[in-house]
């Protein structure tokens, strides 16, 4: 075990994936010499060469489009989109091409492309650098969408995503990049939780709190605070946003009878809406309260001096938890 930041854990995971499979490539803006603006690819070009760690032209559609071509030729490209707000020039390639090509080939093709996207706010950035666009991708059939929440899981998840034969949109919570935790870089992936499974982070009996990415830490803290007031909150890190691990979600909600979903993305048409609908359909007779959502407002992401109001904090999560006991 070794103590790593989230950024370094991803770096080690990428390194391991490149050592294990010579077909794995990294491509993106500033990923080579600079090592990425968040240093996730630091040192990889030096060790694996410019053919495997590619500093691309400044063109996101080109990054994803050429990654598709490389995948067609047998490679496993890992694309970095520098910030969440810059994925949109590549949106066409991701949604109209990457997501659909396997189907159109009658299952003959695989498109093992990973698209890493630093997501979420909380770093005091200017606009387009703090967004949470995951629902735009979970709404698109043919894509797997995952979000890592801590260094140990990120280390395994990035490797699992690269090994997966489907396209994977891989969200990384940028305000957690510099937080450290123990990571087992010696053990293999044999014991790792599969990429499409949620994990029960904290067991509880009174209410199920669902979260992912940057909100995992916030929700764990909220559960601890609620515990001091005698409320037992079960925290589930969804990990996989598409497909959702509904088995784990439903089992929990049927036990607790209450469910809150927290994400930074806007509540309106967000992932929480999908979860609320499914929980209502499948757990209706177990519910003591409606599924509540806590998240961003139905506005563009605000300027950074206001972002503390936009990002759900511990108080807003607890407020939602409290409200589920008001029915």
């Amino acid at each position: 075990m070794t103590r790593l930041t989230l950024s370094k854990a991803l770096n080690e995971g990428l390194r391991k994936a490149m050592e294990d499979d010579p077909k794995v490539l990294i491509m993106g803006e500033d990923v080579g010499k600079l090592g990425g603006v968040f240093r996730v690819t630091d040192g990889l070009q030096k060790d694996f060469g410019e053919a495997r760690v590619v500093d691309t032209p400044l063109a996101e559609s080109g990054i994803v489009g050429t990654a598709i071509g490389l995948a067609l030729r047998g490679y496993r490209p890992v694309c970095e989109i520098q910030f969440d707000g810059f994925v949109f020039p590549a949106f066409n390639q991701i949604t109209t091409q990457l997501a659909k090509m396997r189907l159109r080939s009658l299952g003959n093709l695989i498109l093992p492309v990973v698209i890493r996207i630093p997501c979420g706010g909380g770093i005091g950035a200017v606009e387009h650098h703090s967004e949470s666009p995951e629902a735009l991708f979970t709404h698109t059939g043919g894509l797997r969408v995952v979000a890592c929440g801590d260094p140990a899981d990120a280390y395994a998840m990035i490797q699992l995503a690269i090994k997966n034969d489907d396209p994977v949109i891989f969200f990384e919570p940028k305000r957690r990049y510099w937080e450290r935790a123990e990571v087992d870089t010696a053990g293999g992936l044999a014991g790792a939780l599969p990429l499409d499974r949620a994990r029960v982070l904290i067991g509880g009996t009174d209410v199920t709190l669902l979260c992912y990415g940057p909100m995992v830490k916030t929700c764990a803290a909220a559960a601890a605070a609620a515990g001091e007031e005698g409320r037992s909150v079960e925290v589930i890190d969804l990990r996989s946003l598409a497909p959702l691990d509904t088995e784990t979600i439903f089992e929990s909600v049927r036990r607790t009878g209450r469910c809150v979903v927290a994400h930074e993305a806007p509540v309106t048409s967000g992932l929480g809406a999908e979860i609320a609908a499914r929980v209502t359909e499948e757990c209706f007779y177990h519910l003591e309260a409606p599924v509540l959502r806590v998240g961003g407002f139905s506005t563009p992401y605000p300027p950074s001096r206001l972002e503390e109001h936009y990002i759900p904090d511990l108080d807003r999560v607890l407020d939602a938890v409290d409200r589920t006991f008001g029915y």
Partner: protein, 382 residues
């Protein structure tokens, strides 16, 4: 600059990061040593007073930049994108504009903003994080800063198409648009689409590319194997490369291109060959990817020093001019600092302002709910 059959520049080093083209390969009217030279295609009638005015602009925008970097270091700004080294490209092109012309900037055009008459303190709002924009674009015919690389070139083209439809091309009151972007942006699909739209519509627009050699850590060779200005003919309009550190050349070349656009002769691409002397932004560390020697080479081509040398050598400015300008710069710096420190944070409910032009019931409900939520804390405190 000759181009061989393969479309590659025969002078290979000119398309590489930090490579300086031979003087014949760009338009230059004032050498780095401050020597005035003539160019047959770009005659420039300019008075001593006008040159002193340009020098004042250069010095003051560098001061704005200096102050903003300091404010960022002190935690007062979240970020700053420095224009250091690019002052001449921005002042030269900015002073070539007429009031009715429209400018579409990136996020680094602080010098152009200055020329358009925008109060520099307004630039700080975006970087301090109190606004996602910060000004009314129509007030100074200076559009909002655009952060998503290259997007604004299409907006500029569409605006120019509007000028055509308004019948405002040609004649004494002809209008035109200038679109700013960088070397990295030339790789974006949007920029190439803008070239195509402007070309086929013969839009009154000038594409002003500040080639500062670096897109964060990517040198120009990562974006292009040919000099950027040579891309324009392929799209169907002329391209010209200018010494981007020469304010006189930037002024003359932009004036001519803008007038051609106003007269209905269609687009021009200008490649201002310059250098990003500082980091990409205050979060960047250029020592990780470029050599200090390159920076030293470019320091010798400083856009301000050459104008100063010219003014002194030709006795067009005396000591008091420079002393008074220093004082004015210091005063401007102090004013910006004070404005930044006094800039209030917007109230939390400002998040909900200006999202829609028409009433939106969902958003109003969210605002009311959040106001009540905030109120509940105040009640708890009471």
């Amino acid at each position: 600059m000759a181009v061989n059959d393969a479309g590659r520049a025969t002078s290979a080093d000119s398309s590489r990061g930090g490579g300086q083209p031979e003087s014949a390969e760009f338009i230059q009217l004032l050498t780095p040593e401050g020597e005035r030279i003539e160019h047959p295609d770009y005659p420039l009638e300019i008075s001593a007073e006008e040159i002193r005015g340009l020098y004042r602009d250069l010095v003051l925008v560098r001061r704005i930049d200096f102050e903003a970097i300091a404010l960022q270091r002190q935690g007062e700004l979240g970020l700053w994108a420095s224009l250091l080294g690019q002052e001449a490209a921005q002042i030269g092109s900015g002073r070539a504009l007429k009031p009715a012309d429209m400018a579409f900037p990136t996020y680094r055009e602080h010098g152009v903003a200055w020329c358009r008459g925008l109060d520099p303190t307004r630039l700080l709002e975006l970087f301090r994080g109190v606004s996602n924009g910060g000004w009314d674009p129509a007030a100074h015919n200076f559009h909002l800063y655009t952060i998503v690389i290259g997007s604004q070139t299409l907006h500029a083209t569409g605006y120019a198409m509007g000028i055509q439809r308004d019948g405002a091309v040609g004649g004494e009151n002809g209008e035109a648009v200038i679109a700013y972007f960088g070397d990295g942006a030339t790789s974006q699909g949007d920029v190439n689409e803008a070239f195509i739209w402007a070309s086929v519509t013969n839009a009154p627009i000038v594409f002003f590319c500040q080639n500062n050699q670096w897109a964060i850590s990517a040198p120009l060779e990562r974006q292009s194997r040919v000099p950027l200005y040579l891309r324009a003919p392929g799209f169907g309009f002329p391209g010209v490369r200018v010494d981007g550190n020469d304010v006189l050349a930037c002024l003359a070349v932009t004036r001519k291109a803008m007038q051609a656009a106003r007269d209905g002769q269609g687009p021009t691409m200008i490649e201002a060959f310059t250098y990003r002397m500082g980091a990409h932004t205050t979060t960047d560390d250029p020592t990780r990817y470029r050599l200090a020697a390159e920076l030293e080479t470019w320091k010798l081509k400083d856009p301000i020093e050459r104008v100063k040398a010219y003014l002194i050598r030709n006795e067009l400015a005396d000591e008091s001019f420079f002393t008074e300008l220093d004082a004015e710069a210091a005063e401007l710096g102090a004013r910006i600092r004070k404005a930044c420190l006094e800039m209030p944070d917007p109230g939390p409910l400002a998040i909900f302002d200006n999202v829609y032009a028409e009433p939106n019931a969902l958003l109003e409900a969210e605002r009311d709910q959040y106001a009540a939520y905030l109120e509940s804390f105040e009640e708890a405190v009471r």
